[in-house]
Amino acid sequence: MIYDLAVVGAGPAGLTAARVAARRGLSVALLDAYAKTGGQFLRGAAQPRLTGVDVRLGRRVWAVEKSQERFEIHASETTTATTLLVATGAHDRVIPFPGWDLPGVLTAGGAQALVKGERVKPGEEVVVAGTGPFLLPVAVTLLDAGVRVKEVLEANRPSPRMAAALARVPSKAAEALGYARRLAEARVPYRTGHAVVAAHGEDSVEGVTVAKLTRDWKPYAWRTVDCDTLAVGYGFTPQADLLVQLGCRTEGDHVTVDDHQRTSVDGVLAAGEVTGVAGAAAAVVEGALAVHALIGAPPPRLLAERARLRRFARALELSYPVRDGWQHWLTPGTLVCRCEEVTVSALEEARDLGADDPRTVKLLARPGMGWCQGRMCGHAVARLTGHDPAPQKRPFAQPITLADLTLHDREDST
């Protein structure tokens, strides 16, 4: 069967698109790597009814091929469709510091996912650190789960731009106020211009070093805080592998789209965080808009809503950047690439040999060549070689087994 629309990713963007498309009478397949629908925001919530949608869970899409007028979407089996919507979301953006590979150091999103999706306490005494407004709901989720949150550390300082943006979106302002009130009630300090610059422990985190930061993130005034867990996140990175594979145009860290969520490649749509990190509400609007690429002009109401949410996201991005001062936290032995265990000094050696771009550094010192394919060290390696982080071209969006390949060989030969 050839579907009118195949959606990869069942988060807020993909779910909305699949539901709207089915209601409009299109044949729809919805694929997700995970065992449940919902993506990162809705995880653990009740599974929505998706009448008329072929839902295929536990399907890791590792590649998409465009042949003539259709797409072959390869997971443990192949799905064929005339239009493809990629809504694969984002993952936490992380930056290295000494001890960041100790068990007990979790990403902020990971800590949130453990509580919301798995009903597991990430730890008993947790420090939350990094940058961006996402740290607040993470801290509140932990508090609500009965975790002792020792401090919330925001590396950036409050910006007038952010205050102005909040004033224009009352719902976001109310949400932020609610979090702040909850933290104050629980007597959890929220400190701006602070960061965790090292984690300590034998086999697991026993404490962290906290420093005050100058505006460009140079640390000074260090102290230690005892804790068994650190939840750390510096925003999110769009997970656009499939779109990059297909040759879709990118800008900065994300894929560019038009008013119908169309990418630069014919028949390929994108919605949600892959088009630029903007949160769950924007993902829902974009998912609905994407269907209009198949059924006609997008409603002005949706376009206006998207523009409003994008403006807000842009203000966030400018208010909570990752500033290069984090490089002062590194020591020669700090791991940059967790998978291949590449240290700062190994990267410096490669640089001394003349490697001055991420690709050459990668060939010489192997950062980003391991299992995660640079998802965790991509930002750091790019900045350490003086480049802007950009989506990387990965041959496979997901690791595949020999069995997957032989299965496809068999199909090819018939």
Partner: protein, 78 residues
């Protein structure tokens, strides 16, 4: 509640919980060591992106603990 084995321990997990979450909840925070530095690894991203949490499930190596739902009777090793 369901039960599975990790090395020589019996671990209980909630229905639908991942093996990684169940191990973490049982106080087991690392289950493998790295190839070169012999450093302990467990959960980091919890959403299948970092591959820190790899382990062997019923003889299948290199499974992401955070993405693998625990089933009754699973045999899990490092």
């Amino acid at each position: 509640m369901i039960e599975f084995r990790f090395q020589d321990r019996v671990i209980t997990a909630e229905e639908g919980q991942s093996i990684g979450a169940a191990l973490h909840a049982a106080g087991i925070r690392s289950w493998r060591t790295t190839r070169f530095g012999d450093r302990p690894r467990g959960l980091f991203c919890a959403i299948g992106a970092c591959f820190d949490c790899l382990l062997t499930v019923n003889g299948r190596p290199d499974q992401r603990a955070c993405q693998t739902v625990a089933r009754p009777g699973d045999e899990v090793t490092a």
